[in-house]
Amino acid sequence: MQSLQKITSKFIPLRIENVDTDQIIPARFLKATTKDGFGKNLFRDWRYENDDETKPKADFVLNQKQYSGEILVAAKNFGCGSSREHAAWSIQDYGFKVVVSSFFADIFKNNALNNGVLPVTVSDAFLQQIFAQGADATLSVDLEAQTIAIDATGAEERFDINSYKKTCMLNGYDDIDYLLNMKPEIEAYEKANQ
């Protein structure tokens, strides 16, 4: 997993609530057996007319050239719906390192963390402040300090992450390494609970 410490970047504002994983990556793209290449199908049906890559929908934010960056900012309840990790893979593969929302669905949040994409939960008010910025505005996210700032205004908010997950992300460790080292304890648990 890729590590992440600090990032300053422009952002892409997605002012839609309840973005479900079927929108992030439609089911027809789940037939792959590897984790690669999902980025080109991210938000596929919101991005293109009739599934045609030569016909981008002008009103969709990923197709608006003024917006770019490694941070996606979405309205509340982002990532609801299915458990498909393909949603996190497509966001990561597209080039996002951070997703900001006022509320994340549980499974998506775990999936993002397990793939080096940092979910940052902010207050509704702070989210509105971000949405009020222009296309050239940048955000700064500092994982060590657990802060997110709007650079132009200096507004800053602290976000929560448990210290275990924070350490994993700062160093690029994953849970499986940890669990593989726990085998003796797991075997002891099994013996005691048979």
Binding site: D22, T33, T34, S82, I107, D175, N193
Partner: protein
């Protein structure tokens, strides 16, 4: 202080609590399917690791299997490759597979309970958000991502932060024509598609106790649609009677021992929940959704919210977006609106009782000539039972074809899709944009409401047929 049902099972399965971090939770049973497992198998192989407890894993192919001519090779090359990859992975790693052609094949959340694999007190995971279905047996069951599938492959454990607990009490008697699907659609409409995020939900109360196991599964199945990590119901005599005698149920002395332990699985009288919600069963009507998330539901006799009822600008914008996608108008009624498709199936409503319900309505009648149907049993066992009970004849006489087991048009990964712009009354669990096919307009409802539309060709209050 006493413990909740959730806490009793959770505490027993915590192998280790990481300081200011997640718990390492032991998993008793791990279900896998073709879509969310291949990257986990290849991940394990890349690490040079082995599956830690392959005997605790059960696999099936369900998401992208065809529901006609399953005896023939799968036509779609990508689907075929994914199903073949599952076969190969299971063989290589010693995992039991009930694949295409196997008599136990079916939707993973249908076969687990029907084979007696799902039992009270267990921890159960699957790379599928509807794993919460198994909570109907008084187990902790929840959906996981592929990285987590790999964790369970590697260690039979998963890292999870302990969720908060919510209890939803539904007391009283259901009105005629109202079934368990209506209960859960009503709850989600009340608390919204994110109303239980961060919580594990226990469903309780006299209306829940009165339900069959299959009806309870329908409720637990849709827990995720209000954001809950999972849903569960304390086991009781209904649960024990359901499990007894099933293929993988304990037998003889082992049964007596398990039963004694299962009888301890209930929330103590003095246990505390973070949130408690009370619902009167008699307030629930047959329900239907009108929007693009399962929280956008109302009584089949209701009217859509007005635009003015939304004060928040983003919420208003989202409502207008949903109306535009669905081709509906604020303030309108849905009753009598023509629909073109009926889908009966999915891990929510594809069990034998669902087919009995539908058959009871359509018996001796003809389907509306304009209605196209996708009628899909949840498993080979359900399909067999449909024939054994002669329900297949009732469907055939009504002009309705029954297909073969799989997830089908719930998510349209195979060829079972709803055409763009058309309405589908669906017994499945999600009405997201494009879920049943690009541009498809999904209206979630119970098998009874679906059966009513099958006969009339329009959105109908089932009580008008029953009375």
């Amino acid at each position: 202080m006493g413990k909740t049902l959730f806490e009793k099972i959770w505490d027993k399965h915590v192998v280790k609590q990481i300081e200011d971090g997640p718990s390492v939770v032991y998993i008793d049973k791990h279900f896998i399917h073709e879509v969310t497992s291949p990257q986990a198998f290849s991940g394990i192989e890349k690490r040079g690791a082995q599956l830690f407890r392959p005997k605790q894993i059960v696999a099936t192919a369900d998401h992208n299997v065809p529901t006609m001519h399953q005896e023939l090779p799968i036509k779609d090359a990508l689907s075929k490759f994914q199903v073949d990859t599952l076969i190969e992975n299971c063989k290589k790693h010693g995992v039991e597979l009930y694949g295409l052609g196997h008599k136990y094949q079916g939707i993973v959340h249908v076969i687990g309970p029907e084979l007696g694999i799902t039992q009270p007190g267990m921890t159960i995971v699957c790379g599928d958000s509807h794993t919460s279905t198994h909570g109907a047996f008084g187990s902790i069951a929840f959906g996981i991502g592929t990285s987590e599938v790999e964790m369970v492959f590697a260690s039979q454990c998963i890292m999870q932060s302990k969720p908060k607990v919510m209890r939803i009490n539904i007391d009283g008697a259901l009105k005629n024509g109202v079934v368990s699907k209506d209960i859960i659609l009503y709850i989600i409409a009340q608390i919204s598609a994110s109303g239980a995020t961060g919580y594990f939900v226990e469903y309780a109360g006299s209306a829940i106790r009165a339900l069959s196991m299959e009806a309870r599964m329908t409720i637990c199945n849709m827990s995720i649609e209000m954001g809950a990590r999972g849903g569960m119901i304390a086991p009781d005599q209904t649960t024990f009677d359901y499990i007894k005698g099933r293929l993988f149920a304990p037998q003889g002395a082992a049964w007596d021992q398990k039963l004694a332990a299962w009888k301890e699985l209930y929330t103590d009288a003095d246990a505390k929940f973070d949130v408690e919600i009370n619902i009167k069963a008699e307030d629930i009507d047959p329900m239907i959704t009108y929007g693009t998330n399962p929280g956008m539901g109302l009584s089949v006799r209701g009217t859509l919210p007005t635009i003015e009822s939304f004060t928040d600008a983003t919420e208003k914008q989202n409502y207008e977006k949903a109306l535009a996608y669905m081709g509906l108008t604020a303030g309108q009624s849905l009753l009598g609106m023509p629909v073109q498709n009926v889908f009966i199936g999915s891990c929510t409503n594809s069990r034998i009782e669902d087919f009995r319900l539908v058959a009871s309505i359509i018996k001796g009648k003809q389907k509306d000539p304009n209605i196209k149907t996708l009628i899909v049993p949840g498993s080979q066992e359900v399909a067999k039972q449909i024939k054994a009970e002669g329900l297949d004849k009732i469907f055939a006489d009504a002009g309705v074809e029954i297909r073969q087991a799989g997830c089908s048009a719930c998510l349209g990964m195979n060829e079972d899709k709803i055409p763009a712009g058309e309405y589908c009354i669906s017994t499945s669990n999600r009405n997201f944009e494009g879920r049943q096919g690009a541009g498809a307009r999904t209206l979630l409802a119970s098998p009874l409401t679906a059966a009513a539309a099958l006969l009339t060709g329009k959105i109908t209050d089932i009580r008008d047929i029953l009375n």
